[in-house]
Symmetry: C2
Subunit: 514 residues, 2 copies
């Protein structure tokens, strides 16, 4: 170890520091959480950062340690000590990981009554070949844009529900992926993007069969939320969203049946569009519930969101529309999200407030969920049954399995009754919106924090979310999500919904309002 | 900004610190190298680390800055200050990159007579979707092992010279890659690895057409050397080697014509084998110089190196062989490498020293180079000529272009004369080694440091390297590289060379000696 920092003479390495450093290292390799906790300063200002984000406060750091199941095996190759005074020193260590590559650990140590403790740590390890939580396959590029076009220079993260020639459709499930045939052509929208000059960066993870809004996958891990570290990223277009938020791709191609574009857009501070039902060719896209399934995409700018729309959507004259806010819908969101939307609306001063007769909303949501389940079972039930039979329950993530089990139990009578409500709701929602733009929260909450209790909370979150997102799903309507921030600085989404075919109007509006 | 560290009362943020922090940030965004240099403490102990490794000393940090052409655009999202005493403080900043994602910067600041300066910095930014210096395409996996077998659980980085079904062979050149047909089947050795249960992780970069030993590619960047940061990784199996060293894959499949496995093995502290010429089926492998081309692979352990050999190579009874060191060959290496090999040999006490009549060595090397060039032009000249014509000189990296230009100038008479020497050398080398194992340096130098003057030094390095590596090439002999360390701790390689077909003997020997 060497020592020395600043303009004065080098100070000796203080007693006990080296021992504390090695005690920490031994405890880390033994995953001795109690010792690690004791060696981190017991303060709300203690820091620990890595590629997943910065944790502030001893308690959050301790909770992180308890959940992670140990650090990767490593050895210390070099240490450099900078002693600032007899009670404080920085220790920089170069690590060599057993699995390969080198990392760096920077720790500030302070002397407490009961010994040396870390007050701040910054840890780096080599990135994996690909982040398998986000991607199934990536290339430089995976598919090159065919010619110069409006999307030259852009790169697409293709949700693993769309065909890419030479690849299988994995649908977020390893058994499905293993059995899937190699696709001989691109899905219609993938082909259109490549024709317009965009590269395909890779195939991005999805919640299994897109039947979730959480952004969780038990097989390949929960993709990170780059805009809100240590929180869920939302789904089911989870990999496409994380890829765009991280700058791995500029366009995240996805699907939206009940919110699978709008929810990750809101959670991750992205722009997103769910297109009008049936306006885009779904050829080569794996269905979840064909009555509601829609193509969508995510970007980091309103301009690129619109540009993709100009490439994919039928040309139409753009018209301007009045905006309307419905307070009852705002009240379905958490206060922080509702306030953010209120502020956004007030800043623009454009909006008509209107009270709608929404006593049927829960009946509509339930009909949406039931008919979605019925259709999901029609298209995927046979495979799900066979896979559960052959491989046992772990073939599916627990939440998705639960949803398919509910779907299996839907009777034809229930389905038909639900469909009648769907038709009624569709007409009513279209009538209420008319030629205007409904402004509502893209999701009722900010991204839920990871950690204990998450699974239990997800059920409630899903219910509350679907109550808002089902409107565009039921109506077959286009919806654009615009990022806003809550007072606490967390991402949320403002959703603009309009009549069928108004996709380009919404995209233009988002550009104006952004 | 908050402040506070350790058990005592929180100290106020000292005067001038915040201003210095922001001055640094402005200078970074302006790539104002002079200001950045002035804001880093002028000491040999000043530290700066990122994913590429730790730089120690103000001068090395300054040289790095001058060469990198600016930092990625970012903004500061959060700062946390820990003041250890009135003259020292840690500043941890969360950054948001314009291209997406978040990073962290940890800096220790000290007050000097002329203001605050950074004494240590640790910088993290989000990893890209894939490291395009190492990979062209990666998957989780890209190709799954077909069934349980001896290589189940292993993953292969396939050098971009081998066919993988559904992919093109890119050969390290973007124009070639664009024009290449999609392969309908796997190369023979790729198929054999997948049959044995290994997954293909992806397709790894190569120096263009494998016609280099440097590990440089002007189109996709110089792959990192994870075992010797800020140094060349060696090539041409450069991506395969870096992938294995980083733990992205466990097996790096490559080729070795004149050292393309042995050199990166030596530079990166890996095990590597160049197999006997023609012992493995080269079907689906792009040729460089068929007289010398051999399949090879790299691993992080002698056991896995041998296990792959057992899968790929014809079964043979393993026999033990005497080892022989030739001092003249050792003298062709730099002192640090020769000493490391001497120490390795002495530690094992097994080796016969023998003087060989090597006055012809330079004539042999020249014949090797000339015949390699002739063949390279026969197999690739037409394409190279057309590509230079159509796209101009930048279609090839300068060093590879220079080599092909030399190759084009080789006359048939020169080639035939060279071939006669090749035949003579082959017989002589085989005779000298006989049934024994020749022990020599895998490369005569440690990995050359990156930075100014590298291009000029590379030509000399290549000449010195080929003088050693051409022996196995000329002889068509198997060669195994075993990692050693120089006194300074840098990776180097001990190369074991034996008669044709002795591959398994060498692999077993490497296991014993490792």
């Amino acid at each position: 170890m060497s020592a020395g920092v600043g303009p004065g003479p080098a100070l000796p390495v203080p007693d006990g520091l080296v021992e504390a450093f090695w005690a920490y290292e031994r405890a880390l390799m033994a995953d001795d959480v109690a010792t690690l906790d004791a060696l981190f300063a017991p303060a709300s200002t203690t820091l620990r950062g890595d590629a997943e984000g910065l944790l502030v406060g001893h308690d959050r750091i301790s909770a992180f340690r308890s959940g992670r199941g140990g650090a990767p095996r490593r050895r210390i190759l070099q240490t450099h000590v900078q002693v600032t005074d007899p009670d404080h020193a920085l220790v920089v260590a170069v690590t060599e990981l057993e699995r390969g590559g080198r990392g760096q650990q920077t720790q500030l140590w302070a002397r407490f009554a009961d010994g040396w403790k870390v007050t701040a740590a910054h840890v780096s390890v080599p990135a994996p070949a690909l982040d398998r939580r986000i991607w199934r396959v990536v290339g430089d590029p995976l598919v090159a844009g065919v010619a110069a076009g409006p999307l030259t220079g852009e790169s697409v993260a293709v949700k693993d529900l769309f065909a890419v020639a030479g690849q299988v459709i994995g649908a977020g499930n390893p058994v499905w992926e293993r059995e899937a045939p190699v696709e001989r052509g691109d899905a219609a929208v993938v082909a259109a993007l490549v024709e317009a000059g965009a590269d395909v960066r890779g195939i991005a993870r999805t919640d299994e069969f897109a039947y979730s809004l959480a952004g969780v996958n038990a097989h390949t891990g929960t993709p990170p939320n780059p805009a809100a570290p240590h929180r869920l990223g939302g789904g089911s277009s989870s990999g496409s969203a994380a890829a765009v938020a991280l700058g791995h791709a500029t366009i995240g191609l996805g699907t939206d049946t009940g919110g699978s574009i709008r929810v990750p857009a809101a959670y991750q501070g992205l722009y997103g569009i769910r297109t009008t039902h049936d306006v885009l060719d779904r050829h080569g896209m794996l269905a979840l519930a064909p009555t509601f399934d829609a193509v969508g995409w995510l970007t980091r700018s309103a301009d690129l969101l619109a540009l993709v729309g100009e490439v994919l959507l039928p040309a139409a004259e753009v018209r301007s529309r009045d905006l309307v806010v419905v307070p009852e819908l705002l009240r379905l969101a958490d206060t922080d999200v509702a306030s953010a939307l209120d502020r956004w609306v007030a800043d623009r001063g454009l909006v008509v407030r209107e009270t709608w007769p929404l006593h049927d909303l829960d009946r509509w949501r339930e009909a949406f969920t039931t008919w979605q389940a019925w259709e999901a079972w029609q298209v995927r039930g046979a495979w799900i049954s066979a896979a559960l039979e052959a491989h046992g329950p772990d073939v599916l993530s627990a939440d998705v399995r639960g949803r398919f089990e509910t779907a299996r139990a839907v009777t034809m009578a229930q389905a038909h009754a639900a469909y009648d409500v769907v038709v009624e709701a569709r007409a009513r929602i279209r009538e209420l919106i008319g030629g205007r733009v409904l402004v509502l929260p893209s999701a009722p909450t900010v991204a839920p924090p990871l950690g204990p209790g998450l699974d239990a909370r997800l059920q409630d979150t899903r219910l509350a979310t679907t109550r808002l997102t089902c409107l565009a799903g039921l109506g077959g309507l286009p919806a654009v999500s615009i990022p806003v921030r809550t007072a606490a600085g967390l991402p949320a989404g403002v959703c603009l919904v309009a009549e069928p075919g108004a996709d380009l109007d919404l995209l233009r509006l988002a550009q104006t309002l952004a």
